[in-house]
């Protein structure tokens, strides 16, 4: 026990003053003692939080000079190559930030790199939550908020990319407009309203700017705060281990240990972002030149997080377009442009509820799953990653084609096949790997671990000595939940009448899905730790006295 010491008198006075009025001491103490589980994968969301803070700070800096105007001016700033070139004020002011504002170039690059890392950390954080089943009750709402943050962040990134009004900006906005136009009936109207007339008009930068610096960051901030407050209330999940149960949390207290770590981690995140910004050129708008509607170039992509949409646009066949009453329905833009995005976020948002429906599991889960222990979910996750990755790669097919000397059209066909086959193969392989790992876990539980010591028995037989696993390992392995589903319960009551739900189509579907979700799993419920015959086998020999008895 540490010795209780009194705070200096001056601080005590202030502290008492505040506490007498707001009664913060009790809440403060409780919250400062909040524990955080110690595992690196719980820090992934923090990377996103810190990147977001960096984005806010650098973004405010950039707004001081950026002029969101499409008024045409003739550039006469300090970047000589473009002097005398007519351009929008938005582009000219971005050049001003780059070349005339002290540190402006660095801050703009930090802003851009932080955006790329923000989105990347959102993705890895989300994957961690998905694969460990941390989205399950009671955390479904927080999962939905997370999906919302991810989708808004993508749009926020797209708008930010569009603001400097350089060549890639304009091409990105043009694709955005194309996707909007593909909406049946309302597309042309929405495009006209958004652009204030024909593309590119004179309004779009101003409007995107308002959305980029005001509306979307406010939404993001609100959702992040909500995400964090719910997390604070519900606490982290934790991985299985001794003392880790659905009722107790084990970890480092917020103050001082975790706060110090988290603070240090912020600075590290900032250091990596700033380091990249200092040495690696990102989005060199001064080289691209201003956008004009006649300009077009090969070798340009959206930022990585929009890459999967670019890819789906590139590989979707255009033979399905049709006309109805003389109005074109451009399926080849509509489905890959909006359908794929809807599918991604729809599937992400719906999955916790689908899984709950299949398993009928209404319990609260605070201990995270090991990914191998939920093979179907893990397999689906990998299938999703595969599909996303293939679309993402397809978005860079011209770069791949040129770099690796592959026929451009051939890459399209390769990706079309892969987008169908890849996720299926990914699912099957992942599920098999998970089941294999489950079997190994069961074996480890039964036999202990292979010690690497080979012994020769008097009979001449060689055996490998198995040793007992540590208590921690035994705890982790034996706490493996058995996946069941209420849909597989007996549906015929004692009078031999089948329950009406199970007879209907949805009931049958649910039963079939439940079977698919639960079968093949390896159960450990019938295993006594270290009861395996191998262990006894080695003990049956004379060496048994050398092994710890049990």
């Amino acid at each position: 026990m540490s010795k209780t010491t009194q705070a200096p008198k001056a601080l005590r006075g202030v502290g008492n003053f505040i506490d007498d009025r707001f009664h913060l001491a009790k809440t403060g103490e409780k919250n400062l003692r909040k524990v955080f589980p110690n595992h690196w994968s719980f820090m992934l969301g923090e990377i996103a939080l810190y990147s977001f803070i960096i984005l806010l700070v650098t973004g405010v800096f950039l707004t001081l000079w950026f002029k969101p105007s499409m008024a045409e001016i003739v550039y006469d700033g300090s970047y000589e190559r473009l002097q005398g070139v007519p351009m929008s004020e938005a582009y000219a002011s971005t050049l001003f930030i780059d070349f005339d504002v002290r540190g402006g170039f660095l801050v703009r690059q930090i802003h851009h790199w932080a955006a790329l890392i923000f989105l990347a950390s959102l993705v890895v954080h989300m994957l961690r939550v998905f694969f460990t089943g941390a989205f399950r009750k009671p955390r479904e709402i927080n999962w939905l908020i997370g999906v919302g943050i991810f989708s808004i962040a993508i749009v926020e990134g797209l708008f930010g990319y569009s603001l400097p009004d350089d060549l890639p900006s304009g091409m990105g906005v043009r694709i955005l407009q194309g996707v909007i136009l593909s909406l049946p009936l309302v597309g042309t109207y929405i495009s006209m309203f958004l652009f204030g007339g024909e593309f590119p008009g004179e309004e779009i930068i101003t409007r995107l700017y308002m959305l980029h610096i005001l509306l979307l960051p406010a939404l993001l901030l609100a959702l992040i705060v909500a995400h964090f407050m719910i997390l604070w209330h519900q606490k982290h999940t934790q991985y299985p281990g001794i003392g880790h149960t659905d009722k107790t949390v084990v970890g480092t207290p917020m103050f001082p240990a975790f706060a110090v770590k988290a603070g240090g981690f912020f600075f590290f995140t900032f250091a990596v972002t700033a380091g990249l910004s200092a040495f690696v050129q990102v989005n060199p708008i001064h080289l691209f030149g201003p956008f004009t509607p006649t300009s077009i170039t090969s070798g340009l992509q959206p930022d990585w997080y929009m890459g999967f949409l670019e890819g789906s646009l590139r590989i979707f066949p255009n033979t399905l377009d049709f006309d109805i009453f003389g109005y074109a329905v451009p399926v080849a833009v509509l489905i890959p442009g909006l359908g794929v995005m809807g599918l991604l976020f729809g599937a992400l948002g719906a999955w916790p509820f689908i899984e709950q429906w299949i398993t009928g599991d209404k319990r609260a889960h605070n201990v995270a799953d090991r990914p191998r222990n939920a093979p179907v979910r893990t397999g689906l996750g990998v299938a999703g990653i595969t599909a996303y990755g293939i679309l993402w790669l397809a978005g860079s097919n011209d770069i791949l084609s040129e770099t690796f000397s592959i026929n451009l059209y051939l890459t399209t066909y390769i990706f079309r096949v892969l987008i169908i086959v890849g996720p299926v193969v990914g699912f099957i392989i992942t599920k098999r790997i998970c089941l294999g790992l489950q079997r190994r876990d069961r074996e480890t539980l039964e036999h202990g671990y292979e010690s690497g010591v080979i012994q020769q028995l008097p009979s001449g037989e060689f055996i490998e000595v198995h040793r007992e696993s540590s208590d921690e390992t035994v705890e982790i392995l034996s706490s493996k939940p058995t996946i069941t589903s209420t849909a597989l319960d007996e549906t015929v009551d004692e009078k031999g009448v089948e329950s009406p739900q199970a007879r209907k189509g949805m009931g049958k579907l649910r039963r079939r899905l439940a079977l698919w979700y639960t079968r093949d799993n390896v159960t450990v419920s019938d295993v006594q730790a270290h009861s395996g015959h191998h262990l006894h086998h080695s003990h049956s020999a004379e060496e048994s006295d050398k092994e710890p008895a049990h």
Binding site: V272, L287, S298, W304
Partner: protein, 326 residues
């Protein structure tokens, strides 16, 4: 050896061996495989002919044509199944194809990459003289734009005097110095001509619009090239001299459309060439690593593999260090 013995049964040992073997084969192949440059070096005999454009030898041009071109283009340039008719293409096309090393082609079925020229400047001049005299039909095709600067003078075409030709050390060194001065003067003259051509263009906007409207959708905004349909590609144009870019425009090689002097006028071509050449020499304002100016694909790759990976590694590090009672 004990170090290896202790680790050879490590679970990762197999992978390490495979990676080492692959690396060995890869590096070994890269080191030993003949490259186009080396093959080049052998065919490049010591060609030390005097550098005088007026002094062309049509007969030698014929010999070169019959040896290196006629197999595909026929002896009268009328073309065969493997090579197109040359009679209407004009000397600019010949100069472009040969000076960029694309002709003579090793494989007529494949798109030729840029290489060093296989013949000397003098031989090329002879070849073109023969082409103009015997093969070209009238005034067909574009002339070589001689007022547009080509490549910097080649060091090898300014031969150093041989010691054995001189009586004493002093006169040898004098001659050596003279040859060096001659080369430097030619280089300076070329650079002045190049700078005058590039600086003569003063309308960045026109050059940029022309380039981004007509060229960038294949050669990309940076001139780095890009993929085309049917397995072809648009080459990067960083190494091309202004004259070669000009010739490519007026002759339309391969899949490239022709931009004759009536479509894009010579002074507009000057603006365009100046734009792309100036862009290529721009320093990297945003940091020493420019990611080949490929753009967003490379940036996304870096943000994942370096940015996020470093931060996650740090997360692993700070959570691995914990006190027993934490």
């Amino acid at each position: 050896m004990k170090w290896i013995t202790a680790r050879r049964r490590h679970p990762l040992a197999g992978y390490v061996v495979v990676i080492l073997a692959l690396a060995l084969f890869g590096v070994g192949y890269a080191a030993l495989a003949p490259t186009a440059d080396q093959a080049q070096a052998r065919t490049l005999a010591a060609d030390v002919s005097s550098q005088d454009d007026a002094d062309v030898d049509v007969a030698e041009g014929r010999a070169i044509f019959d040896q290196t071109c006629a197999t595909c283009h026929n002896y009268d340039g009328s073309g065969t199944e493997t090579g197109p008719d040359l009679r209407d293409v004009g000397p600019a096309a010949i100069d472009f194809q040969v000076s960029t090393g694309r002709m003579p082609s090793m494989n007529p079925n494949a798109q030729m990459p840029r290489k060093d020229m296989v013949m000397s400047e003098q031989e090329l001049a002879n070849l073109i003289a023969y082409y103009n005299a015997e093969i070209r039909s009238g005034e067909a095709g574009a002339e070589i734009p001689t007022d547009v600067p080509d490549h910097a003078p080649d060091r090898e075409s300014f031969p150093s005097p041989l010691r054995s030709d001189f009586e004493d050390e002093e006169s040898y060194e004098e001659a050596l110095e003279e040859a060096e001065n001659e080369y430097q003067a030619a280089l300076e003259a070329y650079e002045a001509e190049y700078d005058a051509y590039i600086a003569g263009a003063d309308n960045t906007d026109m050059g940029m619009k022309l380039y981004l409207t007509n060229c960038a959708h294949c050669h990309s905004w940076s001139g780095g090239g890009g993929a085309l349909t049917d397995g072809r590609w648009a080459p990067e144009i960083h190494d091309a001299s202004p004259r070669e870019i000009y010739e490519a425009m007026v002759s339309g090689p391969g899949a490239m459309p022709m931009f004759s002097d009536t479509v894009i006028e010579p002074d507009e071509k000057q603006e365009l060439i100046s734009y792309v050449k100036t862009l290529q020499t721009e320093p990297n304002a945003g940091g020493p690593i420019d990611l080949q100016r490929v753009g967003q694909v490379a940036e996304g790759f870096i943000s994942w593999t370096i940015g996020l990976a470093l931060i996650v590694a740090c997360a692993i590090w700070i959570t691995a260090k914990q006190r027993a009672h934490d």
